[in-house]
Amino acid sequence: MKNAVSGLGLAPDAARVTFPIDLFLPGSDITPVQTRRHEFYDGLTRWQPDFVQAASGAAGAMLAVEGASYEDALVKANNLLIANLWGDGLPLWPATKERVDWILRGTAFPRAHRIGKFPPRGGIATVESCAIALAMAGGRPEYLPVLVAAVDAFLDPASDSEQLQAASGSAFPVVIVNGPVGRQIRLNSGFGCLGPDPQRPAGASIGRALRLMQQNVGGALPGIGTMANYGGMRYTNAVFAEDEDSLPAGWQPHATERHGFAPGSNSISLVFANGAANIRRRGAKKETPEEDALQGMHRMAAFMRTPNMAALPGYENGTPGILMIPGVVAQTMAGLGWSKRSMREFFWQHSKIPAEHLRRAGCPAWIEIDANPMTRESLKLDPWPITSRPENFVLIVAGGGHPTNSYWLQGYCPRVIGREIRVPESFDRLLAEADRDLGCGLEACVI
């Protein structure tokens, strides 16, 4: 509650009466509202805010610890970060002046450049605060342009991050990178692209830095600033590149299709998701290529055909989810005449839910209270499309060069937000330094 009030530009406290969760459940005993009614009356008459400062946590504030050695000081710094609720349970690099200044070499913006107000707490996100988070997350200067673009997209009001940061549905941002910058900064687009990879470590640092900003600047602490029941994928969020080298002829990059960015330009696309499922796509025995493709398409559509009411805010213009297919599968599908467009059309048609299935699961009540008239109107359709149009499906070519699996990131996303990435003039030098620091050149790392 304090977070939400602060995010609205008010002092970060408010008159409120709090009850245990039991009171808010169906069939609860609500007599405590009556017995504690004087707390409501006090809130209307006698309450005064504790917070009297015009601003707190001023940008540039420094902390200090002392230890018998560097290692001792590092431990104390990590303890202090955890004690102040600024950590994630994993070791952190303290954001020293030297480390933050080093990372700021990766931006074309002034360090004080204001990106926006981070909900729900309302902390001010600047390029410097991005660099601080990236420093803590073990990042490097060449990662900063992607993080700044991602934070800018995150704070776009159309993303609805104000709600999603705090909501119980465990939304996490997925950052899809298009353009040469993905390969240049060692972002993964292949094997294990949603997980740890020492050959391509950028996604972990960028995603972890974004999460630290969500928590430290935005106040999304579990059970305090975010009511996320589970909080999955939130250590590093999901940051990866589309495997553009494996796009079949005629298939456009995601950023071009969705946002109109020129092929070959550097950009990010931010999607909120709240589920992740691996799909056994490949057939098992003696299917023909056509049967293998079609059966896999049906299997993927079946994963989508679920009453995901969290997708309703994105029914008109957002996305029901991100489907990731490996490049080898994309090439096979293209060889059989499929395109991204025809695959989306198939998914839209075959993920529709019979009205009877919606009814028995209580979904009409959710659809009826949606703010968007188009969504409410969709209730007349039987079977019910899980999204208003095929174009809303996000289809990405990414993942290891192996045909067995695809991946479905379930959407919780009112809008898919795109941003171009701006790199500094010194970017080539930063990339050369990364080659020097990280050992093998990128090409030598390719499996």
């Binding site: 808010f24 009556q34 018998a68 954001a95 002046k97 209270i369």
Partner: protein, 97 residues
């Protein structure tokens, strides 16, 4: 001793506006409800309306449907406009969970 200095990662907070001034008393006032219709608000807020009317003779408590209801509506500018237009002295907002 080794000293390690590092940045506070929490960023600045700006308090741009004060909270509304409190009322000297609820008696004789006009009170409204802004309800998200969730978390038993449809039961709890009417109970609160009843006890307000019982405890403060002369109070006017607007019905729950005086303003748009539901999570999707209560944060809209139009709702704020309607609240101001109604001339209420205070509003109670619920329910969060």
């Amino acid at each position: 001793m080794f000293k390690l200095e590092f940045h506070d990662p929490s960023g600045a907070i700006e308090a741009e506006q004060p909270h509304a001034p409190r009322l000297p008393s609820v008696a004789g006032r006009r009170i409204g409800f802004v309800s998200n219709e969730q978390w038993q608000a449809y039961r709890m807020l009417p109970l609160l309306k009843a006890v307000l009317e019982q405890d403060f003779p002369g109070i006017e408590v607007l019905p729950l449907n005086a303003f748009p209801q539901g999570n999707a509506r209560i944060g809209e500018e139009e709702t704020a406009r309607l609240v101001k237009q109604s001339g209420v002295d205070a509003v109670i907002i619920g329910n969060a969970a």
